[in-house]
């Protein structure tokens, strides 16, 4: 559209239009959106054998798949906290393309309350870092993966989760495998508890990849539809609340 035209002393015309090079440059500008994904993983002794082997495979494949998906990878930061007797922040938040290789080794019991609180603190810190640098953050995700019963109650952590989710600063999803405590996971994640019917964690991480892709194709603040669930997901609708 040209209501008027004027050429200044240079080669650029004032009335070249709103975009010199087309709107695609504006899209490129949006690469400063970031998504923080925290994996909170149970490495207690009960995860020995098949569970931990499959978990290691799943995480490794997730990283490989992300390297082949530059658009999703361009917005995704990943952190990993493992928990057993102690919690270890084995992967501080970093772009998924810069994730180190990790081999999880099982040991000890299941100190979940402190681990969840630690994960929430790291997620909150990362979210504030994004804002302080002028980045538009997506709602952070925490994926809790566990097969066990916690040593101590998780009520403190559950309250923090509730507050952060109410403030729109978090989405916590819990995945239980083996003989996990359904009550514990429901306290933490409400209805967002999924029972994994087998130890094929590659399906879980494939779903995570596709869900993160959906996030990357949205704008921060949008409601995002997660990916179609794989066949080893089962909604945990345990009604322990009514016992």
């Amino acid at each position: 559209m040209s209501i008027f035209g004027r050429k200044n002393q240079g080669s650029d015309s004032h009335d070249d239009g709103f975009f010199r090079d087309g709107p695609s440059t504006a899209i490129e500008m949006s690469t400063l959106n970031r998504e923080a994904l925290m994996l909170l993983v149970d490495v207690s002794g009960s995860m020995s054998g098949t569970p931990i082997d499959e978990l290691n495979k799943g995480i490794a494949r997730f990283k490989r798949d992300m390297l082949k998906d530059p658009k999703t990878a361009s917005v995704l930061d990943v952190g990993i906290i493992t928990f057993s007797d102690a919690n270890k922040y084995i992967q501080p938040f970093a772009p998924v393309t810069a994730m180190a290789d990790h081999t999880l080794r099982p040991e000890g019991s299941t100190e979940m309350n402190k681990a969840v609180k630690a994960a929430l603190t790291e997620v909150d810190n990362q979210y504030r870092r994004y804002l302080s640098q002028g980045i538009r953050p997506y709602k952070p995700w925490v994926l809790l993966i566990t097969d066990g019963y916690p040593n101590t109650p998780v009520d403190e952590a559950a309250e923090v989760v509730r507050q952060m989710e109410a403030d729109g600063k978090l989405k916590l999803l819990a995945f239980g495998c083996g003989s996990y405590s359904s009550e514990t996971l429901h306290k933490l994640a409400g209805e967002k508890v999924t029972r994994l019917t087998d130890y094929d964690f590659t399906k879980l991480f494939d779903w995570v990849h596709k869900s993160m892709r959906a996030v990357s194709e949205s704008s921060p603040g949008d409601k995002v539809k997660t990916a179609v669930q794989p066949d080893n997901f089962e909604q945990d609708t345990c009604d322990w609340l009514n016992d």
Partner: protein
């Protein structure tokens, strides 16, 4: 005489547009522009933003007409206008039985008298000026906390900011946060006054011989401009633009100032500069440069024995 052109585009993230604007030019050439953006989570913020913007404009139009206000009088008038706007929103809530928290809105106001720009700010809408010297300048700062939560009009006069831009002004842009973020992209922090010049120039820089366009043509020009901006570039938000074109024409600067930025290079430079702040653990690692920014060659926690043990979240950062 100053001219005012304006447009609003509703964004896909809101079923009802929550932005509002108001504008007026007095007989003696005082131009008043107001933009208000209802907070997204507030149920009646669209009504609140309409009321706040209208009351502010009417108050200023009534109090400034026929006067040559001093700086002190301008600041007082702006503050009184904001008080009226807040009281009007409170009255709306009382009369309609709304929770006042459902009536939160921002409020950005510009008054251009000759080349003097006075402004009022509450929230995260914003004002950008084309100075008479040809430079574009961001006049206001967004008001929000470390989580991005906006300080609305209802927070009161302790948070409102009033001021006079220090340099002579040719034109003024008022806009809500979606479009403000588009033209104030952090990638531009070290480039062209930190602003995206080409669209700003299109909106604000009117050569003298082209100001004979009608208001309708001017409004269409603004509307078609903002419709070209992809929704994702403005966070799917409503977009509101008010342009006040004053009597002073701006100096034309060198061509390089008006060029389209090299976005690829800016993204790379931005990451090089900021990644160590985004990822503090990298400050302990070896860092090498790559095309996409600086990534460490090794992370401190590759070896699980070196991984950070989290004793107690309260004592961690």
């Amino acid at each position: 005489m100053p001219r005012i052109f304006k447009a609003i585009k509703g964004g896909p993230s809101h079923p009802v547009c929550q932005d509002s604007l108001a504008e007026f030019v007095t007989d003696d050439g005082i131009a008043i522009g107001v933009v208000a953006d209802g907070l997204g989570s507030a149920a009646h913020s669209d009504e609140a933003s309409k009321l706040a913007s209208f009351v502010t404009m009417v108050f200023l139009a009534e109090h400034l007409k026929g006067s040559t206000p001093s700086i002190e009088m301008m600041f007082k008038s702006l503050k009184d206008a904001y008080c009226c706007a807040r009281e009007a929103v409170e009255l709306l809530a009382r009369v309609r039985g709304y929770d006042l928290r459902d009536c939160d809105t921002t409020l950005a106001t510009a008054v251009l008298i000759g080349k003097d720009l006075y402004f009022g700010q509450s929230g995260d809408s914003g004002i950008i000026a084309l100075q008479a010297d040809g430079h574009y300048a961001k006049v206001t700062e967004e008001q929000n906390d470390e989580y991005g939560r906006v300080y609305p009009l209802s927070f009161g006069e302790d948070w409102w900011v009033f001021g006079k831009h220090p340099k002579p002004v040719s034109s003024v842009l008022l806009t809500s946060d979606g479009f403000l973020g588009f033209v104030c992209n952090p990638l531009l922090e070290d480039f062209s006054d930190g602003l995206y010049i080409p669209p700003l120039r299109f909106l604000l820089d009117y050569p003298a011989d082209k100001l004979n366009i009608t208001n309708k043509e001017g409004n269409i020009r603004v509307k078609r401009s903002i419709e070209q901006v992809p929704d994702e570039a403005t966070n799917n938000d409503d977009v509101t633009v008010v342009v006040i074109v004053g009597d002073a024409r701006a100096t034309c600067l060198e061509d390089a100032y008006y060029r389209e930025p090299d976005w690829k290079r800016l993204v790379s430079e931005w990451h090089r500069k900021h990644d160590c702040e985004l990822y503090p653990s990298w400050n302990d690692a070896d860092v090498t440069g790559t095309d996409s920014g600086s990534h460490p060659t090794s992370l401190p926690n590759e070896n699980k024995d070196a991984a950070q043990v989290l004793e107690d979240p309260e004592s961690h950062e």
